[in-house]
């Protein structure tokens, strides 16, 4: 039988300087309890791979405010003025990646691919310094895989085997990130007995999930 761990114990598993993937889109579907515990632990020097940095006080925005992040690889920072201020002040390096390319680079890492060819970014700053390949008259940018040490994901339900489901637009980057890190810490809203989640409804097989947070009281 696998056992769930406390959020405080989980926060200790994330060392300073680690490269993290964090699920969520504007903090919807972000593992908020895990983020709070990292802020409380005083984590430093994190590289965060995520869709965005949300807003101050929400999701990844809390890690930005706390000065826990030194590098962010994201598609959008426009909703968080603190991210922009820290970037201009040189306290935070920001690498902007088109959203669809971000999803596919993460997927490539999790799927054992050497990269992906996408038309997105051709003729823009995104393609600078990257190999371009023309196939059947279409130009593509070769984008390399993006992997992380640890993925922090939010799930709707988890069962005792750590099988996960997601819900509505809280799904976003969570399932793709669960495949792209060696350590996967999942924060479920509910924990249910094995068999409650039908096999077809499982979006992340529990075998990928190394750690499960206890459910909130």
């Amino acid at each position: 039988m696998r056992t769930a761990i406390s959020v405080e114990d989980a926060a200790v598993l994330v060392p300073d300087g680690a490269t993290l993937m964090i699920g969520g889109f504007m903090a919807v579907g972000s593992p908020e309890r895990m983020i709070d515990a990292l802020v409380a632990r005083g984590a430093r020097g994190l590289t965060v791979i995520a869709n965005d940095t949300a807003r101050p006080g929400h999701g990844i925005g809390k890690l930005i405010s706390a000065g826990a992040v030194s590098r962010a690889i994201v598609s959008h920072i426009g909703t968080n003025p603190e991210t922009q201020q820290k970037m201009i002040a040189g306290e935070l390096a920001v690498e902007l990646v088109p959203q669809g390319t971000l999803a596919e680079r993460v997927r490539a890492a999790g799927a054992g691919l050497g990269g992906i060819l996408t038309p997105t970014g051709v003729g823009t700053v995104v393609a600078e310094g990257k190999q371009e390949i023309e196939l059947d008259g279409v130009r593509y940018v070769l984008e390399r895989p993006l992997a992380a040490d640890i993925a922090l994901i939010e799930a709707h339900e988890a069962d005792y085997n750590f099988n996960l489901t997601y819900r509505l637009t809280a799904t976003n980057f969570n399932p793709v990130m669960a495949l792209a890190a060696r350590m996967v810490i999942a924060e479920p809203k509910e924990i249910v007995p094995v068999g409650v989640i039908p096999p077809d409804a499982v979006k992340t097989p529990g075998i990928l999930v190394t750690h499960l947070l206890k459910r909130p009281r």
Binding site: H76, G100, T101, E104, G121, T124, T171
Partner: protein
């Protein structure tokens, strides 16, 4: 009529029955208000849903159900949700009939700039580069000028969103179609003269015959 309303009503005329459409944040979102009678389209939000509806009544919001701007939405009967990888497969894979995006500049080659102003505004591209690269039609919904400064220019001075030309540009003054030969002035807003349009446009406009007034959705 308010400039944004003129733009939204005209863009709504471009909606085709039974197709998948993505509306960008801001002005493009207004298009959903003016879907012509008899037309049913499925709206995608790139954070992972097809078939979203108006915001729910106050107090009925679902924290797991938002649009790409983070605002609460509802789900219409038949709505489906999916992860970000699938969402952008829809966008890049030719499954999206049309995207409507805001713009900072469009140039004579039909290229769009809409994701950053160097040294001033660096929000990031979000899904914009994928949308312009992948949607079957790209419609730019933007105001014609910024306080008199033309947003339609000879050559972009802002970083492009894609090398691919957009399909259509709709402003409160005109409808413009980018072609290989340049920008064709296709329609003008009610009561607006060609001279007014040209004076507020920073690139040559091709006028091939009479330029009718634009039809606006009710």
């Amino acid at each position: 009529m308010d400039p944004k309303e003129i733009i939204a009503r005209r863009v709504a005329q471009e909606l085709e029955n039974g197709t998948l459409v993505n509306l960008g944040i801001g002005l493009p979102t207004l298009v959903a208000r003016y879907v012509p009678p008899g037309i049913t389209v499925a709206f995608q939000s790139e954070n992972g849903i097809i078939g979203f509806g108006a915001p729910p009544p106050h107090g009925m919001e679902d924290p797991d159900l938002t649009d790409a701007g983070g605002a609460f939405i509802s789900a219409l009967p038949g709505a489906v949700s999916f992860d970000s990888g699938f969402s952008f497969a829809l966008i890049r894979g030719g499954h999206l009939a049309m995207t409507v995006l805001g713009g900072l500049q469009v140039d004579a080659a039909g290229r769009l700039a809409n994701w950053m102003v160097p040294g001033k505004l660096i929000p990031g591209m979000g899904g914009a580069m994928d949308l312009v690269a992948g949607a079957r039609r790209v419609v730019v919904a933007m105001q014609h000028h910024a306080k008199g400064m033309p947003k339609i220019v000879e050559s972009l001075t802002l970083p492009p969103t894609s090398a691919r030309p957009v399909s259509l540009v709709v402003t409160e003054l005109a409808v413009i179609i980018p072609t290989r030969d340049g920008l064709v002035l296709h329609e003008r807003a009610p009561g607006v003269s060609l001279e007014e349009i040209c004076a507020l446009t920073g690139a040559p406009l091709i006028v091939a015959g009479p330029v009718p007034e634009m039809a606006l959705s009710a």
